[in-house]
């Protein structure tokens, strides 16, 4: 494997550029479906790309007195993590044998980096509203990460105790997707809601509630770093449903997977548009008591193989 091929896979396909282009297209689907639900017309398909290009041309302002390195590191961390994650998810969906011990844990860490980068950059910006947003983001991160990890533990149990991502896909190809069982459905619900929170979609968008704290951690960002955040968000919109399909719905085995993928995206958009925003204490309670309890039930069911 030459260096050129490695670089190509990380930067062009399926890494940064491919994921970003598809992700931005998915944000267009999000905007269009949302607009139709609102009885609006919605933007044309190239709008996210135009927005992105416009942001690249804008001036980058770094607030006075903030830590420059951390401020700019925030979006870059997210971008790098998502590029690596894209390569891992794709290569293992194409060839599940291309796996190594503990790669599932690496994937979980990579999924955790974008919120981390956001917290870092937001708190480096020295803005009181950003710090409120960061504290909410942190609370919410701890809230959704716990049930998410419990559910992942259940999935590991179902695949025969391996923490190899490829083997989870192989186990599903051998004996059917995990989704077609009670614990699988519970896991899907938990991962879907966690993804909603990771993406900052309503009802879990209190870290960046525009009407309360004016986009929270993002408030001081402009120009290229803001464009990077938008791209990170778009890439997450692409990779999180892909992750969900991979661990629960048989992976990208055939072209039906695209339909499954779109179904999950539309489901997320519908949840986003039929709920008001939860307060941060309410979403914490929701994730720890409601969803946390559900995920433990799912884990117990997974132990008994249901």
């Amino acid at each position: 494997m030459s260096v050129v091929r490695v670089l190509f896979s990380y930067i062009v396909f399926p890494g940064l550029i491919f994921t970003a282009v598809v992700g931005l297209f998915l944000t267009w689907i999000d905007r269009k479906v949302t607009a139709r639900i609102h009885w609006r017309v919605g933007p044309p398909w190239y709008q996210p790309y135009a927005d992105f290009l416009k942001l690249l041309l804008k001036e980058t302002i770094i607030p006075e007195g903030s830590s420059k390195v951390l401020f700019l590191l925030g979006p870059i961390m997210g971008l790098v993590a998502m590029s690596i994650l894209a390569v891992m998810l794709f290569s293992m969906n194409i060839n599940p044998h291309n796996t190594f011990v503990g790669d599932l844990i690496v994937i979980i860490y990579l999924l955790a980096i974008p919120p981390l980068g956001l917290m870092l950059g937001g708190s480096a910006s020295k803005n009181p509203l950003a710090s409120v947003g960061v504290s909410r983001e942190m609370t919410q991160y701890f809230a959704y990460e716990l049930p998410f990890l419990i559910v992942i533990a259940g999935i590991i149990l179902k695949s025969g105790g391996s923490v190899k991502f490829g083997e989870i896909i192989l186990a599903q190809r051998a004996s059917g997707p995990f989704l077609y069982s009670i614990s699988g459905v519970i896991a899907a619900v938990v991962i879907l809601l966690s993804a909603q929170a990771k993406l900052g979609f309503v009802p879990f968008d209190s870290p960046e509630a525009e009407q309360e704290i004016m986009a929270g951690p993002y408030i001081e960002y402009s120009g290229v770093p803001l464009a990077m955040y938008k791209v990170v968000r778009a890439m997450m919109l692409f990779l999180l449903p892909l992750f969900l399909i991979s661990v629960l719905w048989g992976g990208f085995a055939n072209w039906w997977a695209i339909l499954k993928f779109l179904l999950i995206i539309v489901l997320m958009i519908l949840i986003k548009n039929t709920n008001p925003r939860l307060r941060i204490d309410q979403s914490l309670r929701f994730f720890w008591l409601g969803i946390g309890g559900l995920s433990i039930i799912g884990l117990v069911l997974a132990v008994y193989g249901l």
Binding site: T34, I37, H38, W39, R40, P128, L129, V132, S135, R136, V202, P203, D205, S206, A209, E210, Q211, E212, I213, M214, N273, T274, N275, P276, R277, L278, R279, I280, D281, Q282
Partner: protein, 391 residues
């Protein structure tokens, strides 16, 4: 550790500039400071430089949302000075427009409230059903807003009988949709979780702060000028006052939603009972004297005082809009809730900042500048800006 979270002067929560300084500990709001005066335009002073007919158009522009309530209150006050009784048809017309405006104002608030809790679907849907009402305004009066229906001594335009059908059709649609929205607000557990027991304004506080309109009626105070001191056609129609005791944001939302049903009832009765005849009486002279009017605007009681010295301009015109009374009550309503709730509570009184703004320059507790000084400063600033932008 205490920190300040500013809401305003320019903030996505507000359509107009106003400064709320939230003093917070973590997420909890411990105190609130309100700074007004970003939007002062000197309407009372301007009114004293215009004829009575011109003032009607001037006060219409105090507020874009309740643009009927100020001219309505003004003409009633002038009619009080001049002892003029408008013809019955004009009274009915003014009542109809006043009630239709209440519906459109309450719908505007409901949509914005949806937006503020992050529920943009509610926002868009509510405004979708507010839109036909604006078309009806355009049909009757030629304008979607700033209707210019009021005139000292009557109404400026008639509601043509061929338009009754369209108004009726809209009222039917609205009744159906209002039922839907009421159910949606009351049944949705997540909305209830956000609105219930948030921003509670007790009855004692409501009385102490002398709040008005839906804010007072949501806190168990049954005050409504239309019932207590009826004017025009309000004592000739049958309707109920909506009062809830809880005092939270949900109660205020319920008051506004259910009031829309009452407004529909009033408009239907008015359209049915409206007599034929002239729509204005000729007013030749405004006799010297004083007059007041209390009109129930969508946000509460709006008060106009007019003093006449016999000339064709008011000698003194004093306006007090309901938001001026409602906004200070936020200080008690917001304390102890989180920042997320604060945004909602501040919006729950349906604030109208351009009605509220006053300007006083104080130094050591004494008035430093008089009205004339402020006017001179304003002229100087205008001149300065003009010179700068001419270049």
């Amino acid at each position: 550790m205490k920190r300040i979270v500013p809401i305003g002067p320019y903030h996505p929560l507000q359509e107009e500039p106003e400064f709320f300084k939230l003093i917070v500990e973590g997420e909890k709001v411990v105190d609130l400071e309100i700074n007004i005066g970003y939007n002062h335009r000197g309407h009372e002073f301007l009114a004293q430089k215009m004829t009575y007919d011109q003032v009607t158009f001037l006060v219409e522009r105090i507020c874009g949302i309740c643009s009927d309530s100020h001219p309505y209150a003004f003409v009633l006050a002038v009619e009080d000075v001049a002892h003029v009784e408008p013809p019955p048809r004009a009274q009915y017309i003014r009542t109809i427009i006043g009630e239709l405006e209440r519906i459109h104002s309450h719908y505007l608030w409901l949509g914005l409230a949806g937006h503020f809790i992050g529920y943009n679907t509610v926002w868009m849907w509510v405004w979708r059903y507010r839109e036909p009402l604006l078309d009806i305004f355009e049909l009757i009066m030629g304008n979607r807003n700033h209707y210019a229906i009021n005139k000292v001594g009557g109404a400026r335009r008639d509601i043509l009988p061929e338009h009754y059908g369209q108004i009726d059709k809209y009222l039917d649609l609205l009744e159906e949709k209002n039922t839907m929205f009421t159910k949606a607000v009351l049944d949705d557990p997540v909305i209830r979780a956000r609105l219930e027991n948030v921003g509670v304004l007790s009855k004692e506080d409501a009385i102490a702060y002398a709040v008005l309109g839906p804010t007072a009626r949501g806190s168990g105070c049954a005050i409504d000028v239309r019932k207590d001191d009826p004017y025009d056609a309000y004592d000739k129609v049958d309707w109920d006052e909506i009062v809830f005791d809880e005092g939270d944001v949900l109660a205020k939302a319920k008051v506004r939603l259910l009031e829309c049903f009452e407004s529909i009832k009033i408009v239907r009765q008015c359209l049915r009972d409206m007599p034929d005849g002239p729509i204005e009486t000729r007013v030749d002279e405004i006799t010297p004297g004083e007059g007041i009017c209390r009109h129930e605007a969508p946000r509460g009681e709006v008060f106009h005082y007019v003093r006449s010295d016999g000339s064709n301009m008011p000698a003194r015109h004093k306006i007090r809009a309901p938001s001026f009374m409602n906004i200070p009550s936020n200080v008690v309503a917001v304390k102890g809730y989180s920042i997320a709730d604060a945004a909602l509570v501040l919006a729950a009184v349906d604030p109208c900042y351009c009605c509220t703004d006053r300007t006083v320059v104080l130094e050591d507790g004494k008035k430093k500048l008089t009205g004339k000084d402020l006017l001179r400063l304003s002229w100087q600033k205008t001149e300065r800006l003009r010179r700068r932008y001419r270049r």
